[in-house]
Symmetry: C2
Subunit: 407 residues, 2 copies
């Protein structure tokens, strides 16, 4: 297999190394560099410290063909990326008149009198760099020549970073995209072993297994495999995984459920208690969800369960809101309300409070209404409130997927 | 101000540097180390590459009192952290009989015959290390002495990592916690300048400003400030920020709204079209939300708007589902349905499709019902589908917050 050129990513910000903000740029840029056939050897987050950043820039520009930096290009006192890059590459900063002009409107919009001086530091360009003008935001990007390739400086806000990254990588060579098999209801170990068995004599294919709550992804990378080899091996691994595998192209479970419903001209609805809107949010995250998703009810109170979903008050009094009977009645109720053919309902105890010996934290009853009738499933999930809610949301979506597949 | 000891964090996994998985451990560990008065100088993500990881471990253990590594401790072929740490510190790996025994039950639960051999690699301990036994999962953690302090190896899954990190840091000194002022409806620059004006002659206080869509956080760190100094300066900055500032202790907007409602014995409800469950999910993310949140309706279809929320079909035909009239009727409808005193409704065009010249992508109408009556607000948000939905969710929660404050 051909060796790939090395790349590195640095995200700059004291907020990152103090845990005040989660970095999402690193993962996004890494995926884009991989798709451009670059081998990312490290992703680094550093504080707003000019000396340290300059040291890392000198180290990584010496080793990598492409170094991408995000953050520290804004107008505030802790935006130190321009200065650090200038020092590391020993190239001076030059104020760019065209950028100064482009910033005049933005200067006028700010209320604070000191803002102009801060904002104009964004017009300082490293000598020899190509400027990438912003389509949103105020900070321009810069592509700076290095001894081994280029240093790319991009702003931190993802909405500003993204179009500049696309523009920079636009002409780069694209490798074959990875095959991404996603499953729910299997352990990471079992998925890994199933994949390794298939790949035991398959050179030129890289393997990574990723796990999130109730979501395991097997990723096959092109590392010199022949044409259609990734697809062939992906199909074999999918067969090993069996029906826990819900998508072969990286689609989310929400996307999978909506696509199945669209194919079958079926409409969907949900009634949520413990998941509190997360099933609806997962479905409506997907563009075009309104084609098949009618909507749902977040019935946190018993009054809403009775008044809107027609769950009999006597049933709630006798069996409790977290019960097989309530889950069944919620699913039928929301199906009747929305005229959806497929409806799922959740009622459970997400915690941390509210658990009893009979009904512990993590217990969730699911109701399902399909054209074939109603059914209920009981599950106990482990984890904290967020974990229980996420696992219950995935399980409910998977019930819809399996019901749609049989339809 | 006293200098703090240095720390570094390494997260291990090819899935991280290829952008297949977002690292959340780094930020969580960084926050915990900061709270233990350690200065995190870098956060690094590297691939499953034994040589590179060993090189970084040698570099960082020489410079830092504490180096925390997560990931690469599991049972699979790419779990290379034990081997890399052994090489970097020149200490052999020794198989631990007690861990072998603790893993016997787990070995039995796996379906694949090869799993046992993989799983038992987790019993390999670096000579001289203290083992942290897992409370969930199978991989033990290790605390290894280094020339300058300790190297802490923790498993990658957050639910396994977290209790071990807490256990390791349990006895560490805690610094004064940071003051975290959160605002919505102000730019990052304006917030920064307001904070800097107050802090211009305040030594011993560190400042970071973080921005997420429709959410700006001003964080003040203790860097040697006197007693109550952080709190005093936080109050001054809060006064500068004005009513855009919704919390002074880092609480989310959902937490803030629920706390205000609880104080006022008011109940809440929502009717969501374009936000599709995200308002309900933001509120029900908070433990105890059921005290004041009655629930809501995700009325994606017009039938649900008419049939459940009593929005007249004629109104929808005349003005459209995305209109002032529809927003007002949805808010009143869900308030009537749930008997909540405060209700908010959203109807808009999240995109990418569905926009027109009159009603562009990003347009959202908000309806609000309070004990004083009903009102509607029109906003146009920029950004992609996810951005519009997040900004609209924050704006809707802020409408509830402001209405509750006046009540």
């Amino acid at each position: 297999m051909p060796a790939r050129a090395h790349a590195a990513i640095i995200t700059v910000g004291t907020e990152l190394v103090t845990g005040q903000r989660l970095d999402t740029n690193g993962a996004e840029i890494a995926a884009a560099l991989l798709a451009s056939n670059l081998d990312v050897i490290e992703m680094l987050s550093v504080a707003d410290d000019v000396d340290r950043l300059a040291t890392h820039l000198a180290r990584l520009t010496a080793e990598c063909a492409v170094v991408v930096v995000t953050g520290g290009l804004g107008p505030t006192h802790d935006d130190i990326t321009r200065e650090a890059a200038s020092r590391a590459l020993k190239r001076p900063l030059v104020r760019d008149d065209e950028i100064v002009r482009s910033l005049s409107g933005i200067v006028a919009r700010h209320k604070e009198p000191d803002a102009a001086e801060h904002i104009l530091t964004q017009a300082d360009v490293i000598d020899g760099a190509t400027v990438i003008m912003p389509t949103t935001g105020t900070a321009p990007g810069q592509v700076v020549p290095t001894p081994g390739g280029v240093l790319v400086l991009l702003p931190g806000p993802p909405s500003e970073m993204r179009p500049m990254l696309t523009s920079f990588l636009g002409t780069a060579h694209r490798a074959r995209p990875p095959v991404r098999l996603r499953s729910t209801g299997i352990t990471e170990s079992d998925a890994q072993i199933a994949a390794q068995r298939v790949l035991s004599d398959a050179p030129g294919v890289g393997l990574t297994v990723l796990a999130a709550p109730a979501d395991v992804e097997v990723v096959l990378f092109d590392e010199g495999a022949g044409p259609f080899e990734l697809e062939r091996l992906g199909a074999l691994i999918r067969a090993e995984l069996g029906d826990v595998c819900y998508s072969a192209d990286g689609s989310s479970l929400g996307e999978t459920v909506l696509a199945l419903a669209r194919e079958r001209h079926a409409r969907l609805a949900c009634a949520e208690s413990c998941t509190g809107g997360k099933i609806a949010a997962a479905l409506t995250d997907v563009p075009g969800a309104s084609d098949v998703f009618e909507g749902g009810v977040v019935s946190y109170s018993n009054e809403l369960k009775s008044g809107v979903l027609d769950v009999p008050a006597g049933l709630l009094a006798q069996f409790g809101a977290v019960s097989e009977q309530a889950a069944l009645a919620m699913a039928s109720g929301v199906a009747a309300l929305t005229h959806a053919e497929f409806a799922v309902a959740t009622t459970g105890i997400a915690g941390p409070g509210g658990g009893t010996a009979d009904k512990p934290v993590g217990l969730v009853w699911f109701g399902l209404q399909t054209p074939s009738g109603t059914s209920a499933v009981r599950r106990e999930f482990f984890g904290d409130r967020a974990g229980v809610r996420t696992r219950a949301t995935m399980f409910a979506l998977d019930l819809l997927r399996r019901a749609l597949l049989e339809f």
